[in-house]
Symmetry: C2
Subunit: 224 residues, 2 copies
């Protein structure tokens, strides 16, 4: 089969997206790991280390716009390149959420801890797996993989409501736990939002392949 | 000056974006207004009325992809069309946040109220003004207007921290207020996120004009 000029550019684009995705995942992992171990130095390094991800976003966006302007991709390639400019926004936001987690965790660590962090580490593991699977579905254009991410999102939501209820019970029983409890509720929401970004990426993966938006259940685009 | 074929398509695109923006604003306004007046019927209508916004997102995305595939826009037009596919995501999320506000408000109204809702209505007015100004800057490609949105974001953040502190004081003083107080904290965060989406839109407006991402302070794109 003939290899087109655009294939090389798309390949480069995929490689840089892989790097950006790995970096975003790594930052989420570092923030929750530091919370669990009470490691303030690592929290600070997450808070201060946002630049690499921002730089990658700019670089990848630049590649996408050059590709659109010079190579005129169509159909599935066009959808892939436009979706890539959205994906970088999602990954950059995941990095911001890792910073939000680290900031809230720093404040949380100033109080006596509330029992073993409830289910936050479990929520974080699910969110990270959603993110990694969503990226894989995006790069390999796999609809079944993307679908599996959408299903996990419900269990993450449920786990968050459970964490929320459990923390409220602590807070109602002991006023000492209100401030740290509120911080853990906020961290649970940050993690849930990481799951939301993974869901966005999975939905974009389905859109690339099927030219329909899975949120709305029918074809979004009648284009070429 | 010669009118290009693409200008008509861009004009149609702008008109539909204006409609979608007005609808998103209207839903935010309805959710907070219903919270203030304790109007459960209006909360329900916000919760159930998400379809029009989703339909508009699909329609506008379809227009963008057809434009990209058939007209090959370049430079500022290319950036405008790609940014429009991101803008619809932001506006759709604003609609989701209006639903989140309405859901949380429904739960809040089941408890005795905490004094006059703190500063939530004021936060909501700022967020709505940010949204409306951001849309205007996007459609008129006005960098000064977009910059003003970025400045408001700081005052919204500050107001949210103040609301947060004030509610924690209530919660620490009276255990009865913990559940409704937590709901108001969540509503404050939903409103803050509406401000974040307005900020995204303003940043995209700057990107369209200047081909640089204001988040990172230097040119993002060297393309044509």
């Amino acid at each position: 089969m003939e290899r087109r000029l655009i294939d090389d550019d798309l390949e480069t684009l995929k490689q840089r997206i892989t790097v950006m995705g790995a970096l975003a995942e790594e930052r989420v992992n570092a923030s929750v790991d530091a919370l669990v171990r009470g490691d303030r130095a690592q929290l600070r390094s997450v808070i201060e280390g946002d630049k690499a991800l921002n730089d990658l976003q700019m670089e990848i966006d630049g590649q996408c716009f050059r590709l659109l302007a010079l190579q005129h991709p169509v159909a599935v390639d066009l959808r892939f390149v436009v979706a890539a400019t959205k994906l970088t926004v999602d990954l950059e936001r995941v990095g911001d959420l890792a910073v939000n987690i680290a900031e809230t965790a720093s404040r949380y660590l100033e109080h006596p801890p509330i029992k073993p962090l409830i289910d936050l580490p479990r929520m974080s593991r699910i969110a990270q797996q959603m993110l990694s699977t969503a990226l894989h579905s995006f790069l390999t254009r796999s609809v079944p993989l993307a679908q599996s991410v959408l299903e996990w999102d419900d269990s993450l939501d449920e786990l968050k409501s459970q964490v929320f209820r459990e923390l409220l019970t602590f807070m109602l029983g002991d006023a000492q736990t209100i401030e740290p409890g509120t911080d853990l509720i906020l961290i649970a929401r940050h993690i849930e939002r990481i799951g939301d970004h993974a869901t966005n990426i999975a939905e974009d993966a389905i859109f690339i392949v099927e030219a329909r938006d899975p949120r709305h259940g029918r074809p979004a685009v009648n284009g070429p």
